[in-house]
Symmetry: C2
Subunit: 173 residues, 2 copies
DNA sequence: TTTACTGCAAAATTTTTGCAGGGGT
DNA sequence: ACCCCTGCAAAAATTTTGCAGTAAA
């Protein structure tokens, strides 16, 4: 058992899982899988498309959507909304990590991940309470990170000092 | 204090909150608020529009979107995705209820609500761990309800008996 | 060689925006 | 009377579908 190649492992795991489902590993899919597994950030379809195009300019946006749908249905990626902080797109991440909650700062947009035991406890309680068979779970928490709490307090103070500012027509400035 | 009119209470609470924000209570908004507070189900924008149109045929779809956005930003409603079980729409519910998780059956689409203490525990842990100020939280759990687990097992058995069924062209049947 | 997969074009779905007129407070 | 809010039309953003050709196994 090798424990020295943590970044190559997941990719193989994913690829084997796909083969088992009788899915072809095309060049396009390899590019997209690499990006989702290794980008380190939460990508939406459009951003994924832009990044993929850098590696293969012919790769089509439709292929991105089709691949994401397939990965989602195979249970290989999770689809997130991140509280719609950045808009109504969906974001994607591998399911190879342990289950975690996403903590989204509504001011700076930063996303933290939380792996505490309440998550497992919640699972267990829901399973026993409803006799439910859980396939996937998702927790998203929106609020203000330690850093932005201070900034926000300052912003509120500033706003209070010049209260009757007429609504700014930003488009026309 | 009256404890006999549970359905009228929340509406007033919502309306007062809106007044505080300097928001006008138009006929359209009253219709939409009533539907969201009292429908008992999770409505998406389109369904909300259809229901609202029954009460006022002139009410426009755009008004529904604008009202939902306003209510969301005022913190009066929560926006849910219900695991995208039914598609990519968003669903809405009042924030007058206690925080709860949504348990969605991926087969029959039924949505249950769970109010256990792990949710509060999760909140507290996230707040202390990250020094985070939580404004809103959302937990969605997808899987199979007790009823559908049995049905699904039967479906799997059935599928195993006639394995090579060619992909059905549903549109042409 | 088979047929799952891709790209392209076109459509469908969901949501936003500009503007003129109407209604709440 | 003020100006926030609505309806309408049009656009933008996001996702899906049909079909002919391409490439993985």
């Amino acid at each position: 058992m090798s424990s020295a190649a943590p970044s190559a492992e997941p990719r193989n795991k994913t690829r084997e899982s796909l083969k088992h489902h009788g899915v072809r590993l095309t060049r396009q899919r390899q590019i997209l899988l690499d990006l989702i597994d290794n980008s380190g950030e939460h990508l939406d379809a459009e951003r994924l498309f832009q990044l993929a195009k850098e590696k293969d300019p012919k790769l089509n946006r439709v292929t991105v959507y089709r691949t994401l749908k397939m990965l989602k249905e195979s249970g290989l990626v999770d689809e997130l909304d991140l509280m719609h902080q950045a808009g109504d797109q969906h974001f994607y991440e591998t399911r190879l990590k342990q289950e975690h909650a996403h903590i989204i700062c509504l001011r700076c947009g930063r996303v933290e991940e939380f792996f505490g035991e309440p998550l497992q406890k919640l699972r267990r309680q829901v399973e026993s309470h409803f006799g439910f068979q859980i396939m996937l779970a998702r927790t998203e928490i929106g609020g203000y990170c330690a850093h932005c709490q201070a900034l926000r307090a300052q912003e509120m103070r500033d706003a209070a000092e010049q209260p009757a500012l007429p609504p700014v027509r930003r488009k026309q400035l």
